[in-house]
C-alpha cells in the first residue's frame, strides 16, 4: 500500500508539474491581457515537435536535452512575437468573444501546419540517458526522469514567483495587469509590456514542449490533452494567479494519479469531480483576481 | 392606497462594497405623484443608493417598501414588474437593435408580465397594435422618425431619449432617473425637463432622480435630499435645503447661488 502511495505521490507531482509548465503561460497571459489563449496548447505541441526534430529521438545528455528545450523556447517565443504583431496585437481592445475565436483559428492553423510538416504519425522520444533509470524509494521504483520533471517544475515556479514579486519587471507587469490605463499614465510602455508578456508566455509553452516530450506519444493532439487540464487548473487556481495555478496543478496531478492507480477502471473521472466541487463552492478560484472593477 | 401613504419607502439602508460601508443607514420616502431629487458631491453614494433601491445591488441591512410590498429581497426584474422604471447615468439601450425593436422588446416584456394580450402565440413578428403602441411612445419623445435606425448609431441625446422611452413604455409607477440630463446641451436639457414634466402631469408618475444641474432640480422636484459620504445630511423642500448652512458648506454653495430662485 505504501508503495502505491509513494508511486502516486511522485507520479502525481510530476503530472502536476507537467500541467503547470503548460498552464503557467496560459494564466500569465490571462492575468495581463485578460484573454484566454486557446492557441497555447498548439504552440506547446509545436515546441514538442521542434525539440524532437532538433534533438532527435534519443537526446545525448541531460544538458543537450535542456538546451534543446531552451532553443524550442526561443523559437516559439519568436513565433509568438510574429503572432502578436500580425494577429493578437490588433485585437487588444476588441470584445473577448472575438479574441477567443481568433485564438481558436490560430490553434487550428497551427495544428494544420504541424500535420503538414510532420504528418499524422506518432513519434516517441526517450528521456536523456542520465535519467533513464529508476531509483528505489521505499519499495517503489521511481523513474529519475519523473524526478527531473518535478525539479524543473519547481524551479520554474520559483523563478516565475521571483520575477513577478521581487524584480522590477514583475512589478511593472503587475501594474499593467491591474490598471493598464494608469500604468500608461505613469510612463510605462504598456504595448511593449503586453507584447513581451505574450512572447514570454509562448516561450514558456515551447520550453514545456521540449521538456515534456519524452515519455509521451508525440502527435498533433498532444496539446489538447494538456491544455484541457491547464484550463481546469487555471479556473480552480484563480484566473491570473501563478501561485493558484501551481497549487491547482499539483492537486489535479495528484488526483489524476490516484485515480489511475486506485480506480483504474474509472480512470480520468476524479479530476472532474474536483472541478465540480470547486465550481459550486468557490467559483472565483483559490486566488481570485484582484483587479480594478 | 390613499394619497397620503408612501409609494416608495427606504428604511435604514446599508450597502457595502466588500468591507467598505458605502451607504450608512439612509432612509427616504416618496409619496405618489411626488418628485424627489438626490444631490451631493461625486462619490457621495447617489448611484449606489439608486442601485440598492432598484435591486441592482443588494443591501446589507435595511428595508425597501414599494407600493405596499416589501421588495428588499426582490431581484431587479421583479421590482421592475412592480412598477419601477430606471434609466442609467450613461444611457444603456440595446445597441444592435433598432430603436423600434428596443421599444417592442420593452412592450412585449410588459405585456407578458401583466398577462396582457401579446398577439397570436404562433406569430413571429410583433402584432400590429404593439408596433403602433411602440411608435406612439417613440413619438412622445420626438424620435419616431429614428425608429428603424440601429440604436448604436444614435446621437448621445437621442440615446437618452430612447432610454427614457424604454422606461416609459413599461408604464411605471415611479421613474428612477440617474442624472437624466448629464452630458446634454442646455437646449436639450430643458426639452427633456419639459417632457418629464408633462409625463408627470399626464400619468401622475412619481419621480426620483439624481442631478447636478440646479435648474433642472428646481423645475422638476418637490423635495430634495442631500447626501455626503453615504449619509443623508439634509432633506426637505427645495427652499429649506437651499438655505441649510451645512449643505452650503458641504456643497460650497456655488451651484445654489447661481441658480434662479
Amino acid at each position: 500500500m505504501t508503495n502505491q502511495i509513494i508511486f502516486v505521490l511522485f507520479n502525481g507531482l510530476a503530472s502536476g508539474m507537467a500541467f503547470f509548465l503548460v498552464a503557467a503561460g496560459l494564466t500569465w497571459v490571462f492575468g495581463i491581457l485578460k484573454i484566454l489563449n486557446l492557441a497555447h496548447g498548439a504552440f506547446f505541441m509545436i515546441g514538442a515537435y521542434l525539440a524532437y526534430t532538433i534533438g532527435g529521438a534519443s537526446p545525448a545528455s541531460i544538458w543537450s536535452f535542456i538546451g534543446v528545450a531552451l532553443i524550442s523556447a526561443l523559437v516559439i517565443g519568436l513565433m509568438g512575437l510574429v503572432t502578436d504583431k500580425l494577429v493578437l496585437g490588433r485585437l487588444r481592445n476588441v470584445d473577448y468573444h472575438y479574441v477567443l475565436i481568433a485564438t481558436f483559428g490560430l490553434m487550428l492553423f497551427c495544428e494544420g501546419v504541424a500535420k503538414a510538416i510532420w504528418g499524422s504519425d506518432y513519434f516517441s522520444v526517450m528521456p536523456p540517458p542520465e535519467v533513464d533509470t529508476a531509483v528505489k524509494i521505499g519499495a517503489s521504483y521511481i523513474s529519475l526522469y519523473t524526478i527531473l520533471v518535478i525539479a524543473i517544475g519547481l524551479v520554474t515556479f520559483v523563478v516565475l514567483e521571483l520575477v513577478m514579486n521581487r524584480l522590477w519587471a514583475g512589478k511593472i507587469m503587475r501594474a499593467v495587469a491591474n490598471d493598464p490605463w494608469m500604468a500608461g499614465t505613469i510612463g510605462i510602455n504598456v504595448p511593449l509590456v503586453l507584447m513581451l508578456s505574450v512572447v514570454a508566455s509562448f516561450a514558456l509553452a515551447g520550453f514545456a514542449g521540449g521538456i515534456l516530450v519524452p515519455n509521451q506519444t508525440l502527435s498533433v493532439h498532444v496539446g489538447s490533452a494538456f491544455i484541457l487540464y491547464a484550463f481546469l487548473a487555471v479556473v480552480i487556481g484563480g484566473l491570473g494567479s501563478i501561485r493558484g495555478t501551481f497549487i491547482a496543478c499539483i492537486l489535479l496531478g495528484l488526483v489524476e494519479s490516484a485515480n489511475a492507480t486506485f480506480l483504474p477502471q474509472y480512470g480520468g473521472i476524479a479530476v472532474y469531480v474536483v472541478l465540480a466541487i470547486f465550481l459550486v463552492s468557490r467559483p472565483q478560484g483559490l486566488f481570485p483576481p484582484q483587479g480594478v472593477s | 392606497m390613499n394619497a397620503q401613504s408612501n409609494l416608495l419607502q427606504a428604511t435604514d439602508l446599508r450597502v457595502n462594497y466588500g468591507a467598505f460601508e458605502v451607504i450608512k443607514g439612509v432612509s427616504l420616502s416618496v409619496k405618489e405623484g411626488e418628485s424627489l431629487a438626490i444631490i451631493g458631491p461625486n462619490g457621495a453614494g447617489k448611484t449606489t443608493l439608486f442601485k440598492a433601491l432598484t435591486g441592482e445591488v443588494s443591501s446589507r441591512s435595511g428595508k425597501v417598501m414599494f407600493a405596499g410590498k416589501d421588495v428588499t429581497s426582490m431581484p431587479a426584474h421583479a421590482r421592475t414588474v412592480e412598477g419601477m422604471g430606471r434609466t442609467f447615468q450613461v444611457s444603456r439601450v440595446f445597441l444592435e437593435l433598432t430603436a423600434l425593436e428596443n421599444v417592442v422588446v420593452a412592450l412585449e416584456s410588459r405585456r407578458r408580465n401583466r398577462k396582457e394580450p401579446t398577439g397570436a402565440w404562433w406569430r413571429a413578428a410583433p402584432s400590429p397594435s404593439l408596433i403602433a403602441e411602440a411608435i406612439a411612445f417613440l413619438d412622445q419623445l420626438g424620435i419616431a422618425n429614428l425608429r428603424n435606425e440601429t440604436a448604436a448609431t444614435l446621437s448621445h441625446g437621442d440615446k437618452k431619449r430612447l432610454e427614457l422611452t424604454l422606461a416609459l413604455a413599461l408604464e411605471p409607477k415611479i421613474l428612477m432617473l440617474d442624472e437624466p440630463t448629464a452630458g446634454m446641451a442646455p437646449a436639450d436639457r430643458m426639452k427633456i425637463v419639459d417632457v418629464i414634466r408633462s409625463i408627470r402631469k399626464e400619468r401622475g408618475v412619481s419621480l426620483v432622480m439624481t442631478e447636478h444641474d440646479m435648474d433642472v432640480i428646481f423645475s422638476l422636484s418637490d423635495s430634495v435630499m442631500v447626501m455626503n459620504y453615504g449619509e443623508v445630511i439634509a432633506s426637505g423642500s427645495v427652499e429649506e435645503v437651499r438655505n441649510n448652512p451645512t449643505v452650503r458648506e458641504v456643497y460650497l454653495g456655488k451651484d445654489m447661488d447661481h441658480a434662479a430662485g
Partner: protein
C-alpha cells in the same frame, strides 16, 4: 403605421430581394430532395452529414449568436441524442422511431435544464466555457466505462428504422429513403429554430445578449430565459445527434470530445454568427474545404484556421457579414 413597417432582423428590405432569396431556397430544397438520383452514395453521405452538422451548428448559435452565451461542450448534447437513439435502435426498444427521436431531444433539453439551473445563475463567460467542456469530457469518460454503449469501440451495427404508422409502413432501411426522412426532419427543425429566433422569444434572447442588466430593468427574468435558451439549444443539438445515429449507423466517442464540440462553433463563426443562416453556410463551406483538401494532410485545418483569423481581423461577422457589407456598399452606391 402598418405591419409592413416591421423589419425582421437581417431580412432583405426590398421586395425583389425577398423574392429572389425564397426562390433560391426553394430550388436548393428541390435539388437536395433529388440528391440520391443526382450524386453518388459517398457524396450523398457527406450531404446528409452536412445537413446534420447544420442543425447542430444552428443549435449552438441560438445560444451564442442570439443569447450571448458560449457553450464549449455542445458535443455532450449531441452525444446524448446519438447514444440514446443508437441504443434504442440497436437493442430494439419498443418505441416508434419518431418518439425515439423526440425522447432523445427531450433528454438533451433535460440535461441543459439541470446544468442551466445549477450553473447559469452564477457562471457566465469563461466559467461556463470550462464547465461545459468538463461536463462533456466527463460524460465521455463515463460512456467509456459502459459496456452497453460500446465503451471505446463505439456503439455499432445500428439498424435503420421502419416507421409503423398503423395504416402504412415507411421503410427507411435504404439509405436513399432515410436520407429523404433526414432532409425533411432537418428542414422541420430548422423551421422551428427560425421561428424561435424571429419570435418574441428570440427578441427577449437578443435583449439579454445585448445588455443583460438593461434587460432586467425591462422586467425580463434574465436567468430564466437563459435557461430556456439553453434548453432549446441542448434539445435541438440532441435531435441532431439522434438523427445522426441511424445515418452513420455507428456512434463513437469521437463525437463526445471537446474537438467535436468545436465543430458547431467553427461552422457558425465561419458562416457568420450574426445571421440566422450563418451556421448553415459555414457548415457547407467547411465540408467543402474538407472534401477538396482531403488528400493534403493539414491543409484543411490551415485553411479553416487561417480563414477564421482573417475573418476576425477583417470582418468579424463571417462570410455573410462580408456579403452584407458588400450589399450595403452597393446599395449606397445606388442611392448616391
Amino acid at each position: 403605421m402598418t405591419a409592413a413597417s416591421w423589419v425582421p432582423p437581417g431580412a432583405q428590405t426590398s421586395f425583389t430581394g425577398q423574392y429572389v432569396m425564397t426562390a433560391i431556397g426553394a430550388v436548393l430544397v428541390v435539388l437536395l430532395f433529388f440528391a440520391p438520383e443526382l450524386v453518388n452514395p459517398g457524396l450523398l453521405f457527406i450531404i446528409g452529414m452536412t445537413l446534420i452538422q447544420s442543425v447542430f451548428a444552428l443549435s449552438w448559435n441560438l445560444l451564442f449568436g442570439s443569447t450571448g452565451l458560449a457553450s464549449f461542450g455542445h458535443a455532450g448534447f449531441y452525444a446524448i441524442g446519438a447514444y440514446f437513439t443508437g441504443a434504442a435502435l440497436r437493442y430494439g426498444f419498443q418505441l416508434p422511431f419518431v418518439m425515439t427521436l423526440l425522447i432523445g431531444g427531450a433528454l438533451g433539453a433535460l440535461a441543459a435544464y439541470i446544468i442551466g439551473v445549477v450553473a447559469l445563475k452564477r457562471l457566465t463567460g469563461i466559467f461556463l466555457a470550462v464547465l461545459t467542456v468538463a461536463l462533456t469530457e466527463a460524460m465521455g469518460k463515463i460512456i467509456g466505462f459502459t459496456p452497453a454503449l460500446g465503451e471505446q469501440d463505439g456503439l455499432g451495427n445500428i439498424p435503420r428504422p421502419i416507421i409503423n404508422l398503423g395504416f402504412a409502413m415507411i421503410d427507411l432501411t435504404n439509405s436513399n429513403d432515410f436520407y429523404r426522412f433526414l432532409l425533411v426532419a432537418c428542414l422541420l427543425v430548422t423551421a422551428g429554430l427560425w421561428w424561435v429566433v424571429h419570435s418574441r422569444l428570440g427578441r427577449t434572447f437578443r435583449a439579454i445578449r445585448e445588455d443583460a442588466d438593461r434587460a432586467r430593468f425591462i422586467g425580463i427574468d434574465v436567468a430564466r430565459y437563459r435557461v430556456i435558451s439553453f434548453m432549446i439549444s441542448g434539445g435541438t443539438a440532441a435531435l441532431a445527434g439522434a438523427l445522426s445515429a441511424p445515418w452513420t449507423r455507428i456512434v463513437t466517442l469521437d463525437q463526445v470530445n471537446w474537438l467535436a464540440s468545436t465543430q458547431p462553433m467553427l461552422n457558425s463563426l465561419l458562416g457568420g454568427f450574426t445571421n440566422f443562416w450563418g451556421p448553415v453556410v459555414g457548415s457547407v463551406v467547411f465540408t467543402s474545404i474538407n472534401y477538396w483538401t482531403r488528400s493534403y494532410p493539414g491543409l484543411s485545418e490551415m485553411l479553416v484556421g487561417g480563414v477564421l483569423v482573417v475573418i476576425i481581423l477583417v470582418a468579424p461577422t463571417g462570410v455573410l457579414g462580408i456579403l452584407g457589407k458588400i450589399r450595403a456598399r452597393l446599395k449606397k452606391g445606388d442611392r448616391g
